[in-house]
Symmetry: C2
Subunit: 143 residues, 2 copies
DNA sequence: CGTAGTTAAATCGCATACGATTTAATCGCA
DNA sequence: TGCGATTAAATCGTATGCGATTTAACTACG
């Protein structure tokens, strides 16, 4: 049971390869918008709640500032967001959508539906699989 | 339905974050062996069948030579494998486990069991989830 | 009030991923 | 048989991820 298995039989490899396939499926949807998948995730977090700090976005995406700082700087360079130190706590950097960043939300509105269609799942099935995978993730995360 | 959702509600984010959590869970298991997770996958492919070409390993792991070549060179540097051009077809590079590379398999034998335990799943549950996630991956891959 | 301890980002280094291109070897077909 | 098309790796450039460290700002407590 704890023997060596070829990659196709490993649960971990299913997750690994499915995550890659998911990003590949998003690429043609996001490339016209000039976004990578992680950039799209960061913007989604801001579309849900604007004005979050690097740390808050990191908590939402489960990423640290070593990954987010360069990514958010690229979003700033692209003109989607502004980065400003919080006046009340200068340690924190707060991200705010620009007018273009808010407008991008409309242009990206069709993306989730297109992706769902690509999955071949109907919404309840997708939600069920999402919950199963998220539950596994949460069990794997250190307590 | 095709509106903007916060990351935690997206199936894609569940996959994305679960894949990261999976690699994080593997890290303490593989670090003592001096392996990264993708390196462990490549070795697993060779443990299943030694002497594969870069392309064959790439087909198994769904990776291209732009990713694999540097990774396999690091495995060579570490002394786990040798890289040799195929005599019959000089375009191909064939990977062969060294004695140390074969021995490493024993040292890594406990890894899958440790990971399975961390998932909180019993084997049939893990296999079922693996199949569901792999089926999603295969539907997402371009025909 | 001062400073040690903590916290939030940023920085650094290394290892993936992957699109695009290049190089070298083999193949197909007139 | 000869050469254009195809194939397999390698190379190049950019964008993540993440461990480890650094820097700057805030907090707590004597």
């Amino acid at each position: 049971m704890s023997d060596t298995l070829p990659p196709p039989q490993m649960l971990c490899f299913a997750l690994y390869s499915a995550a890659h396939a998911m990003q590949a499926a998003y690429r043609p949807l996001l490339e016209p918008l000039g976004l990578t998948y992680p950039q799209y995730l960061a913007l989604s977090a801001l579309w849900a709640e604007d004005g979050q700090t690097v740390g808050q976005i990191g908590a939402a995406l489960m990423l640290d500032s070593n990954t987010l700082t360069p990514l958010l700087k690229r979003l700033e360079q692209a003109g989607w967001v502004t980065r400003r130190r919080d006046a009340a706590d200068e340690r924190q950097v707060r991200l705010t959508l620009t007018e273009a960043g808010r407008a991008l939300r409309e242009k990206a509105a069709a993306v989730p539906g297109c992706f769902l269609e690509r999955t071949g799942l109907v919404l309840p099935e997708a939600a069920a699989l999402r919950d199963e995978v998220a539950a596994l993730r949460d069990r794997l995360r250190p307590r």
